[in-house]
């Protein structure tokens, strides 16, 4: 500002910032670090929280019906993709469809592949009925052929291999016809085929030395979508009362229950991550408050001199707030920009890394969080200065000058 002899009041703040580039840069970097942690942390925790929350939604089904005694297995299949094999009669499909409050049903047939030469990998093979399915289809990236041929499969998002590749199960080659979007559920590590193909695989399974053979007309589970206006719990109760709970040979599992079971352990982890981010953030704010008050303390003489020249307490305070506000705004924007820059390109990598249900924030949420973090970052500098300003304003100008050194 060498060439502008006449200053406005806000120029004072800008001169102070400009003439002390290292101090200014240091403070900006500190605020940037803080907003980086704040924005990055909230983005990741948001994704994790909504990931666990929306798990039920992403399972696609409101209720699952499996043979009695296997309700804990279904959790492993749906959430972690743990292979298992169990059966019940397909009569249940039509029986369940009649129950009040049931809108749609679709059968699934589970076959576990083996960790042997016959198979590409030990994995959950799921047979599904394409015409009635409402669980798998929404997640398929590319358009699926009208109906899957017996040797065609749809692979989960976490399975390596692209459309057109072949995978071997029980010495049969299957062509990958489509690949699913990542769902953050056990689906990601599952392979889907039509029911007939799954039946064939189940027969192969027996030949390959697996467990008992599936009786004719078997399915492993019925996925249920409830009618609008009914809750999953109401329909669960209805099914239980219609088919004599405990004696029917089936067990009705609301998707929510599965989620709540996992939520227990998952939640702890997510809360831990959130707490860590929060702690880091509090630490950053504390450091910032200390640094600001040290910096302002060093500059007391400067502020006292301004008072001696006729600056009111209010003016000196606003000068400090303008300076810390500019620093905060610059740092906040830099930190959020940096966090976005890091998180957006690597979001898929982060999702794979955390290995738990993870939903990316929508653009609107992303923008809202960025804005919120910016507001907080913007406020943090002036807030950090507030304490020093208040203390300074209690004193006479001469006292402030003397405290600032001679």
């Amino acid at each position: 500002m060498k060439y502008r002899p006449y200053l406005s009041f806000s120029d004072l703040a800008l001169c102070n910032l400009q003439r002390r580039p290292f101090r200014t840069a240091g403070l900006v970097i500190l605020v940037a670090l803080m907003s980086f942690v704040l924005f990055g942390g909230s983005l990741i925790t948001y994704s994790l929280f909504s990931g666990t929350d929306a798990l039920a939604k992403r399972l696609g089904a409101d209720i699952l019906i499996v043979p009695q005694g296997y309700d804990n297995k279904v959790e492993g299949i749906l959430l972690r993709g743990e292979p298992s094999t169990f059966y019940m009669s397909d009569e249940w499909l039509s029986k369940i469809a009649e129950v009040d409050g049931v809108r749609a049903v679709s059968p699934q047939l589970f076959v576990a592949s083996l960790n042997a030469d016959c198979c590409a990998m030990p994995i959950q093979l799921i047979g599904f009925e394409q015409s009635t399915d409402f669980v798998i289809e929404p997640w398929i990236k590319t358009v699926l052929p009208g109906s899957l041929a017996d040797e065609e499969i749809v692979v989960g998002g976490a399975i390596s291999g692209k459309v057109g590749d072949t995978l071997k199960f029980f010495d049969r080659d299957y062509r990958i016809a489509a690949k699913m979007e990542k769902t953050g559920t056990g689906f990601d590590a599952s392979i889907f085929m039509n029911i007939a193909a799954a039946e064939m695989a189940a027969a192969d399974y027996e030949t390959a030395g697996g467990a008992y053979p599936p009786p004719e007309g078997s399915i492993s589970s019925v996925v249920v979508m409830v009618e609008d206006g009914f809750t999953a719990n109401e329909v669960t109760r209805q099914i239980n009362s219609d088919f004599h709970y405990g004696k029917s040979g089936i067990v009705v599992v609301p998707a929510k229950t599965i989620i709540n079971n996992v939520s227990g352990s998952l939640r702890v982890l997510v809360i831990f991550i959130a707490a860590l981010a929060g702690l880091l953030w509090i630490l950053a704010v504390l450091v910032l408050a200390v640094v600001f008050s040290v910096m302002l303390n060093e500059r007391k003489r400067e502020f006292g001199i301004l008072r001696s020249l006729g600056a009111t307490r209010r003016r000196v305070s606003s000068l400090i707030f303008i300076e810390s506000g500019v620093i905060s705004a610059a740092g906040g924007m830099a930190g959020i920009f940096l966090a976005a820059l890091l998180i957006i390109p690597f979001r898929n990598y982060i999702r794979d890394l955390v290995e738990i249900p993870y939903i990316q924030a929508s653009a609107a949420w992303f923008a809202a969080m960025a804005f919120g973090c910016l507001l907080i970052s913007f406020a943090v500098g002036p807030l950090a200065s507030l304490f020093s300003v208040k203390r300074m304003n209690k004193n006479d100008a001469y006292t402030v000058i003397r405290e600032g050194g001679l």
Partner: protein, 223 residues
């Protein structure tokens, strides 16, 4: 009457004991009066000057400036008074490091907006104190005596009716000191009241009246 101080006391607590830095001082200054305050180091001169300038509140006693009592004025009014009516040159350095010499001199105008173009007047004042050529320099490029003269020019920007100066010629050579004393004497002639602390007897001899302080009291008028 420009300035009237009645029974000013200032107590400091230092290491558990009470110290009377200023002890029952009363004084009056009229327009155009040029007064020097002398006394040994630690006798309370700076403390008194800061109280008179409204920068430090006394433990007891009252100060009125042009008939208005400081204790009855709020921060806004007192600040405006300091900004427009009172020039104050403090002991030690008082030039802000992030502004050029010229910017430092026009600071009072920046703090309270008012009409007029201060840059011209500032340049004149810098000419008067002999450092106009340093106008666009930053304080870290100046000598102690040059910095002192920046503070003098700045105190005069608003054409104050009272100039309070705490050892304004401390870092100056004899010749420059004489120039500054000429400047102050000239101001007094035009009606500005000047109250100045100095250890320089030669300089003090230019004043109309000399007050001597000792242990917080004004012990005599004269050296």
């Amino acid at each position: 009457m420009i300035l009237e101080a009645r029974e000013i006391r200032k107590e400091y607590k230092r290491g558990g004991t009470l110290l009377q830095a200023v002890d029952d001082v009363s004084l009056e200054l009229t327009e155009g009066e040029f007064v020097c305050l002398v006394g040994r180091s630690g006798s309370g001169k700076s403390t008194l000057l800061n109280i008179l300038a409204g920068l430090l509140s006394p433990t007891s006693g009252s100060v009125s400036f042009e008939g208005r009592n400081y204790t009855e004025m709020d921060d806004e009014a007192l600040s405006l008074l300091r900004n427009t009516r009172l020039g104050y040159i403090m002991q030690g350095h008082s030039v802000l490091p992030n502004f050029t010499v010229l910017q430092n001199v026009i600071l009072p105008h920046v703090l309270f907006k008012r009409g007029g173009e201060p840059a011209e007047r500032a340049a004149e004042l810098l000419e008067d104190v002999g450092i106009r050529h340093l106008s666009s320099q930053y304080p870290h490029e100046l000598s102690g005596g040059e910095l002192r003269r920046v503070a003098i020019a700045r105190a005069l920007l608003s054409a104050p009716s009272l100039l309070i100066a705490d050892e304004p010629t401390g870092d100056l050579d004899d010749e420059t000191t004489a120039d500054i004393m000429d400047l102050f004497a000239g101001l007094a002639e035009k009606g500005t009241a000047v109250l100045m602390v100095t250890h320089d007897t030669e300089a003090a001899s230019r004043s109309h009246r000399i007050l001597t302080m000792k242990a917080g009291r004004i012990v005599k008028a004269g050296l």
